[in-house]
């Protein structure tokens, strides 16, 4: 046996011994899967553990293992009640993935991920800043994994509660979830909505709640060509650089005399455009089409009326 493979085996044994103590009665099948080995290899590991223990090496000092009927129990192994520490590199890599996940998952999932992040960070003696925009409460949330299971089972539907930023309100929809996609640093759930028979994108961090329900899609899809869109031409002043960066403007041109940029953006829902222009506080100006320009003016007027 080479040094490398005997190392790999020993390092597995050092995990197996605490694992079997914490998870008494684990099955041979699942334990082998968790450690990425065949059942035969696991049995041979267990037989080796049975030969080991503390000096003296009588039945009083040897570890006692049995796996009758396919379930494993272990005794007399208190010396290795806990596993070995992980390396800084390994912990930092996990922190990286956990931090990224916490930024793109539903809000309540982020709470659970941040609690996990703090545990790993304390293990590495790392002092990480708290992100003020993140929730601190751990509600034991698993919304993203639940959605993923429903997509994989492909037999069921999802009742979803979603905060729509475009509409500025919560939506409750029954959807057939299709896939999860990463775009511009966000995760999106793509689903077919049974409420209005069209495909919709849901930004994952705005999903509030999901529940899987039995059922299937009835009635045909009405939006085979995707939602209707308009190409809107926009003028951006120098303060609006963030907009170009965030949303990506096409065919960007700079007007050297007035220090403004013009470009175009594809708009699927004019209500989104309304809000984006209002929130820009005068940095963005819609040039064409006239209908979209008028809609922005109307939205601003409606808002202003609340102050009069």
């Amino acid at each position: 046996m080479s040094a490398k493979s005997s190392n790999a085996r020993l390092s597995r044994l050092l995990k197996l011994i605490p694992f079997l103590q914490k998870n008494s009665g684990a099955s041979v099948e699942k334990t082998a899967q968790l450690f990425g080995i065949s059942e035969k290899e696991l049995i041979s590991d267990l037989n080796l553990i049975w030969l080991c223990g503390l000096p003296g090496y009588s039945h009083l000092e040897l570890i006692d293992v049995s796996y009758d009927s396919g379930f494993i129990s272990i005794a007399n192994a208190e010396t290795l009640e806990r596993p070995m520490r992980i390396s800084f590199q390994e912990g930092a890599a996990l922190l990286l993935a956990i931090t990224k996940l916490s930024e793109v998952t539903p809000h309540t999932d982020s709470g659970t991920l941040l609690s996990l992040r703090n545990k790993i960070a304390s293990l590495l003696a790392l002092d990480l800043p708290q992100n003020s925009e993140m929730p601190l409460e751990d509600q034991g949330s698993l919304i993203l994994p639940e959605i993923q299971s429903v997509i994989e089972s492909s037999g069921s539907l999802l009742d979803i509660e979603y905060f729509s930023a475009t509409l500025n309100e919560n939506l409750s929809l029954r959807i057939k979830p299709m896939e999860i996609q990463s775009r511009n640093g966000f995760l999106y759930l793509i689903g077919y909505s049974l409420s209005d028979h069209r495909h919709r994108f849901f930004r994952m961090d705005r999903v509030l709640k999901v529940e899987s329900v039995d059922g299937e899609v009835t009635g045909g899809s009405r939006d085979i060509n995707g939602p209707e869109s308009a190409i809107v031409s926009i003028e951006v002043d120098e303060k609006g650089a963030w907009f170009m960066q965030k949303w990506g403007l096409d065919s960007l041109k700079r007007d050297p005399h007035r220090n403004v940029f013009t470009g175009s953006v594809t708009v699927y829902d004019p209500r989104w455009l309304e809000r984006a222009v209002l929130a820009s506080g005068g940095t963005l100006r819609v040039l064409t089409p006239d209908s979209h320009r008028a809609q922005v003016a109307l939205a601003a007027t409606r808002t202003l009326q609340k102050y009069r």
Binding site: S6, L13, L14, L48, R85, H107, T112, L142, S182, Y307
Partner: protein, 324 residues
Amino acid sequence: MAGDRVDKTERLLNLTLALIATRRPLRKSEIFETIPGYSGSPESMERMFERDKDELREMGVSVQVLPIDPLFDDEIGYQVISQDYFMPDLNLTREESIWLAIATAVLNESSSSINTNGALQNLLSGNEIPIEEILDYSHSWNLQLPLNDSLMTIWQALKERSSLAFNYSTSTNQRMRRVSPHSLTSRNGYWYLIAIDHEDLKIKTFRIDRISEIEPDRKVPFTEPPESFDLSSFLRSFSGERIREVKIKLHREISPMHPLVARGSHSISDYTLPVGSELVLQNIDRNELLDQILWAGDAVEVLEPTDIRDEIISLLEKIIEQHL
């Protein structure tokens, strides 16, 4: 030696167990006498033990060489110190252990060169875990999340207090920076490194996603910030003007998940906040506030402070004029 050949892994496991369990460092002679598998001439047992010790250290088991009697260091022995070896109890919840498996799956499909499957098994081994669910979620997720591994190098440098060198691009240029990292902070969804620039010894912020080709800088020693440096006041000026209290009125029902009110004290179980509610938002960034109030359109009205109210009115008037 034939006849009582002991499997090498068995010998190593027994050695590890003995070194962890012992209350005092073990003499080499005690190890040879008690642990099954050491045999042959004294020289060959010696060579075996040296190789075993190296292999254990390579795996991360820190075998320490210590005096057997703390008062006299003429006789040495070997021991694994429990605090160094054992992972502290993490008390992972069922959900946390599942997320840990997902994080590992996400890493496996990223370009990260670090394999954390072993670390995952280690972390999980200290806890009672939902094995079947973890196996279900350990498959490939194909999320293609962009992971910024500059953060890993920064964490390590912060911990080891070492200097960093990286390429930094701003809208106008791109060049090498050499810095001593001080801390990390986040603002508006971006991560920033606060560090001392070795060029002018000034404290600066660097946006992490604009950093590339980062590596530890062994040439330059770590520089401490001046004693007068006050991180909290630096962060206050970095994060822009904050407004202590803003009173708003709702003209439409809005979700408690709305970014504007999610920071408030409303529990998520309130499904909506009714029309006519007046809410007080606290300690909010001025630009963020204007952005969110305007995004909400006619659903929200600012009542106080009046300068914010007036600013919103004038911005709306400007927008109307621009779109007539």
